[in-house]
Symmetry: C3
Subunit: 273 residues, 3 copies
Amino acid sequence: MFGELLENVRRNVPLVHNITNYVTVNDVANIILAVGGSPIMADDEREVAEITSKSRALYLNLGTLNTRTIKSMLIAAEEANKNNIPVILDPVGAGFSKLRDEAIDQLLGQVKFSAIRGNMSEIKALLKKGSQAKGVDVQVSDQIGQDNLKSCVEFAKQAARALQCVIAISGPIDIVSDGEVAYCVYGGDKLMSRITGTGCQLTAMIATFIGANPRKVLLASVAAIAMIDICGEQGVRRMTDLDGNASLRNYIIDAVFNLTETELDKEARYETK
Amino acid sequence: MFGELLENVRRNVPLVHNITNYVTVNDVANIILAVGGSPIMADDEREVAEITSKSRALYLNLGTLNTRTIKSMLIAAEEANKNNIPVILDPVGAGFSKLRDEAIDQLLGQVKFSAIRGNMSEIKALLKKGSQAKGVDVQVSDQIGQDNLKSCVEFAKQAARALQCVIAISGPIDIVSDGEVAYCVYGGDKLMSRITGTGCQLTAMIATFIGANPRKVLLASVAAIAMIDICGEQGVRRMTDLDGNASLRNYIIDAVFNLTETELDKEARYETK
Amino acid sequence: MFGELLENVRRNVPLVHNITNYVTVNDVANIILAVGGSPIMADDEREVAEITSKSRALYLNLGTLNTRTIKSMLIAAEEANKNNIPVILDPVGAGFSKLRDEAIDQLLGQVKFSAIRGNMSEIKALLKKGSQAKGVDVQVSDQIGQDNLKSCVEFAKQAARALQCVIAISGPIDIVSDGEVAYCVYGGDKLMSRITGTGCQLTAMIATFIGANPRKVLLASVAAIAMIDICGEQGVRRMTDLDGNASLRNYIIDAVFNLTETELDKEARYETK
């Protein structure tokens, strides 16, 4: 199932327009190339609409947002929505500053997203105020685990309904939901959090999968997460005693480059709830 | 012949001022250091002229251009021209947006370039309008190969005459011309296109070679291309089954770091047309 | 002694707010993670004060400064000073342009720094004018060596007193002083200068160590330098014939990731003067 979605990425080589932070942008570009897509980065307000209109997906990442790029994100997203080009959001640092929360308010108010991926505290921050809060009544901690999985799954479903798009929550267990179904994806390794930008890279992979499979937003998101989880484990297994987070960063992108459709199908570990 | 030019790079350690995109800027800096130069990145309009005036070459790359950096490029290039410091252009995404085409029009109108490197579609975009179009009547496809090499060579010569500088066109066969002679450079590997910024890095190497060999712009450009082609092949040969584009990125820069003058002379594969 | 300071880093995982250049920012983030801290990058003037107020250290790096980020640095630093959060400066390119010197004047005039790290020519540039120059009468060359170590040590002490903070001067021998004592740290490898941003990374490590040990600014700075020197040597020892500066970059960050507290204590080579 997921193998087919990956095959579509590699056959169609979707152009993904990224307005993203300058910290992890190189890794974002290389992982999009690794999975089989084609990245383009452009953030000037005078060209973003044109670039988006030629792309198969628009990826917005709030990592090092500023006044100039927030405006560009809104312009690009408006063009994307007009042309039914999927828009994917990584709300890095949601809840951590007023600027981020205001930008998120603007984005959620003006843009129709296909998918949003963050950790639990970021997704919770998205839901804290205004219309988004409506109907989300599950209280969950920031840590997803087997003991609180049921409430996290319910939270993800309610969040997806409130935000009206696929929600992917990263953690020891990843949860993805479109509001109806929820996928719990197992795998990955806690060492991945010692590399800057694994989250940014994952959301870029989600955007790439969705760009090649625009009618299967939920499954495309799950496929991307299953893939990074498998590749993260492969990367950690490849590490020698001398390797640390710098080599692991390379090994994970390498693994994404090499993972076959068959392996993705065979090794993905998930269940629906 | 090329070995001597590389020796000049390593003996003189030319300072190269880069106004380039934030996606591949780290690799650009590391490859300039690998080949033997010294990179400096500075893009504020209040300091670029001063930085350029102390440098041996100015490298302009349009990758993530914006209103602010376009202005800085024009200021830096004016200073460079005033002081006979070579200016090298990588017109990333030429033809892909109005902003890029307007920036290119401004740059071509106001700046005397020593060399411009791009792929065929980018170089064709440079020639599409105005005075640049004059005298370029060869029709070529975007793919350079043995079957259309003759017309591509003629195109490169005409482009060099029209743009009044050395033109380097990257492809399965690379073509470099000053309008009189054309060099066809063989080598490289198609896996190189799976790494973000190999083009940006190559143009940075051209700038570094020219910075150390300012009176041999054509040969310096050819030497840089021959070198990246050799190093790209060495990088691919070094790859194990587990390696992908992330490791290959490192292997190519490593190979540039290690390639000797003698090896460059011996392994460069080219012919003049 | 240093091992304990490293243990504090790894136990407390200090959040370090970085306003730094876009060339080496990814390596800065990964080395902060490698040593055991937690990096955050944010440079918009509307959020920097808020981000700084939640951090344990503020790291300012002038690498690709511009009008917008200089303002953000001043705002963030004011907030840091107000809350007794240590501020660490890397004056990249001090003396190389008027813009940098003006920015440095503003920063030195308005901000109380905990530590400043640069090479000898950058530290000398900081002391060239105005009130900073007072009382610094030692003449030293830009190269630190055994032959001029005594005068360099005296210079470092006077610089620390003039600038009223810990001064770390990088070179073949690194000198760190708070104005009273000076530590001479031995180790490292000259190949480290062939990687872009080793200086930026070192200052980030200093900021991380200080963030976790705010009452031991001098020793924390020395510990970070001893650690990068040890890890630089380990990285060079790990290099094969095929490796160059790209692999070395990864090996050094990997070594920082793996170095234990015991190894740091055992392998640090320094003397006090």
